[in-house]
Structures are given as structure tokens and as C-alpha cells.
């Protein structure tokens, strides 16, 4: 992971900054279920787009790689929705 971070510092800075912004918004909008769900969807969508753009840019995008991103996105989405469903 350390190697990836060193290899693509700008790409990861964009990704992690977007996560931080989403979490800051989440903190301000906590207890409002619809806003929380929308933010979660935005966060996961951005991750997917980031994966697509990053691998396209570095010419190593394959169907297998995209399925991997989709699996992690689905997992994160389901975890987040389960959390909000329980609140």
C-alpha cells in the first residue's frame, strides 16, 4: 500500500480528500437519514469513478479490475445502508 501511495501521490490525495470532505459533511448532517444516505451514495460513486479514471489514465484498466472496484463499492454501500437502517 505504501508503494502505491508513493507511486500515485496526487491520485490518492484527491481520493482521500474527497473522503474527508464527505465525512465532514456527514458530521454536520448526522441524524438526518436522507442526507446520510445521499452522502454515502456520493462517497461510493466517487470511489468508483476514481477507480475508473485512475486505471484508465495509467492504461491498466481491465474488466477484472473494475469488478473488483464494484465489489468493494457494493460492500461499502451495503455496510453503510445497514448502519443507517439501524439508527
Amino acid at each position: 500500500m505504501h508503494k502505491e501511495l508513493k507511486q500515485y501521490p496526487l491520485d490518492f490525495a484527491i481520493l482521500f480528500a474527497s473522503f474527508a470532505i464527505a465525512l465532514a459533511f456527514f458530521w454536520n448532517l448526522r441524524h438526518v437519514l436522507a442526507a446520510e444516505k445521499t452522502l454515502l451514495l456520493g462517497l461510493v460513486s466517487f470511489y468508483l469513478l476514481w477507480g475508473l479514471a485512475h486505471h484508465l489514465y495509467h492504461h491498466d484498466l481491465t474488466a477484472k479490475v473494475m469488478v473488483e472496484y464494484l465489489s468493494f463499492a457494493l460492500l461499502a454501500l451495503v455496510m453503510g445502508l445497514t448502519l443507517f437502517q439501524t439508527v
Partner: protein, 282 residues
């Protein structure tokens, strides 16, 4: 394949798993999603089969809600709201209606608006408003959450309102023990008055007559879900770290997603878990 080999394929990159641990492949992640969905279904159905086991304990009182609401108005330089017995009755009726018909919204599934409860209680208003909350643990968190939401804050800080009514009702909501909070605001039409001044003693007297169910010891469903998510994320992030170590140690070249991106997403979910507190407002 022997157990040791299967375990190695599951946890670390090997030739047998095409240099990507099974735990990080869609073939494992997809069933995990299905397990989580089944767990969610279980959590939704369990309270209906065994009501009263899951629940949120709370220490919320109508008196405190009124005092904290008036404190916010005072800070904004507004007039304090007077507790109105008719609005208290309307709030109580709304809360009872939500518990009876298992809904949590401003408008009931049969189309009853909050204003119907004002009318049934006999409160004639010029302007009126309603704030709802549930599953909170204390009065401070409820008012803080309302103040953080623009539409709820607008109700609390609306200079037109003169009266307030609050109901804090404990009961089974879809089989889960919870506390519903209904806060009603109003300004009566000219010539209509049924109010009580907001002195602490009269506040308590106003609310004493309203019953609430005793709080039983329950399992907090949010804590159970939080534990499950953190455990699953811990397992996968651990596998991502191990995978990265193997790739670096043995100079493995393969086409795969970025472990740091996956780990970042899952850690963001863990932060969501940490930031999520019980209680929602409407």
C-alpha cells in the same frame, strides 16, 4: 486441496488464487454482501418475532426538551415559548398514533397531517409547526440535532410561535423499544388562550399526567451492527495489508485494483460507524 492450502489461498496471494487472496476477490466479497443483507433482514424481522429484546434506552424528559428549546430561543433573543396543555395533548396523541400504526413521519400512512392532532386537541392556531425525533439517548442530543438541521431550527427559532407542546413516549416501534419525541409549536388565533407559564414547577406539573412505559433492559441494535461492520472491515483491511506485504516482498506483478483505495474506502466506512450516533430527526 488440503486445508492449509485452502487457508493460504483464502488469506494470501499464491499461484493457486492467481496472486490475489480469495478474501479480496469478488467470489468472497459478493457472498459477504449477501450475508450482510441477510443479517439486515434478520435484524428487521427479529423484533417482530421477539419484540422488546432490541431497544434504545433513554433519559429524555419533556421538561428538559422545553427548557433547552427555550434556551436556544433566549440565545437568539426571542421570546420564550409557553407550555400549552392542548399542544401537549396533541403531541401525545401524535406519538400514540405513530406507535399504534407503526409509522414515523409528519403525515400518517392514511394521510393524517400533524394539523389534525392540533384540531382534535382543540388548539386553534394561526401558524403551527412539528419536530420529530426518535432513538435518542438524552434530551441535549435531541435539541442539538434539531438545531443542526435548518428546517427544524427554523421551527425552534420561529418568532411567530408563542406556545409549545412536547410528548416523550416510550414504546415498541416495529418491535424495537424506543422513545419517540414529538415537539409541536403554535401561535393561537386571536382571543384563544389555554397556556401555562414556563416556570420549572408548572412545567413538571403539566407533563406529570402523561404516562410512559417503563424502560426495560434491551440490546442496542446499533451497537450490534457497529460491531459487525468493524469486525468485517478489520478482516478485509487486514487481508489488504497482508496482500500488499506479499506483493512487495515477493515482487509479484499482477493487474489488480489499488489496495490503498479499497482500504481508504473501508476505513471511511469505519469512520462513519464511529460518527454515527443513535437517533434520527424528521
Amino acid at each position: 486441496m488440503k486445508l492449509k492450502g485452502r487457508l493460504a489461498n483464502f488469506l494470501v496471494p499464491t499461484a493457486g488464487n492467481q496472486w490475489r487472496a480469495w478474501i479480496l476477490q469478488p467470489r468472497f466479497l459478493t457472498p459477504l454482501v449477501i450475508v450482510i443483507l441477510l443479517g439486515q433482514l434478520f435484524f428487521n424481522l427479529f423484533p417482530l418475532v421477539k419484540p422488546g429484546v432490541l431497544g434504545y434506552s433513554s433519559d429524555i424528559t419533556p421538561v428538559k426538551i422545553v427548557m433547552l428549546t427555550n434556551r436556544e430561543r433566549q440565545k437568539a433573543g426571542l421570546e420564550q415559548l409557553r407550555v400549552n396543555t392542548l399542544l401537549n395533548k396533541a403531541a401525545q396523541a401524535k406519538a400514540a398514533n405513530m406507535l399504534a400504526f407503526n409509522y414515523w413521519a409528519h403525515v400518517s400512512p392514511s394521510g393524517q397531517t400533524p394539523w389534525l392532532f392540533f384540531k382534535q386537541a382543540g388548539y386553534r392556531y394561526k401558524v403551527a409547526g412539528e419536530n420529530l425525533a426518535k432513538d435518542f439517548t438524552d434530551s441535549e442530543s435531541v435539541v442539538q440535532a434539531w438545531m443542526a438541521s435548518p428546517s427544524h431550527r427554523d421551527n425552534i427559532l420561529d418568532a411567530r410561535f408563542r406556545d409549545i407542546g412536547v410528548a416523550v413516549v416510550k414504546g415498541d416501534f416495529k418491535g424495537v423499544k424506543t422513545t419517540l419525541i414529538v415537539q409541536l409549536f403554535g401561535a393561537p388565533v386571536a382571543g384563544f388562550a389555554d397556556t401555562t407559564q414556563p416556570t420549572p414547577s408548572s412545567l413538571a406539573k403539566n407533563f406529570n399526567s402523561f404516562p410512559s412505559l417503563a424502560t426495560a433492559k434491551t440490546i442496542n441494535p446499533l451497537s450490534v451492527v457497529k460491531f459487525g461492520i468493524v469486525f468485517a472491515v478489520g478482516l478485509i483491511v487486514g487481508a489488504l495489508v497482508v496482500d500488499s506485504w506479499f506483493v512487495r516482498r515477493y515482487h509479484i506483478y499482477r493487474l489488480a485494483g489499488r489496495n490503498a483505495a479499497h482500504a481508504g474506502l473501508l476505513l471511511a466506512i469505519v469512520l462513519l460507524v464511529i460518527l454515527t450516533q443513535p437517533g434520527i430527526i424528521f
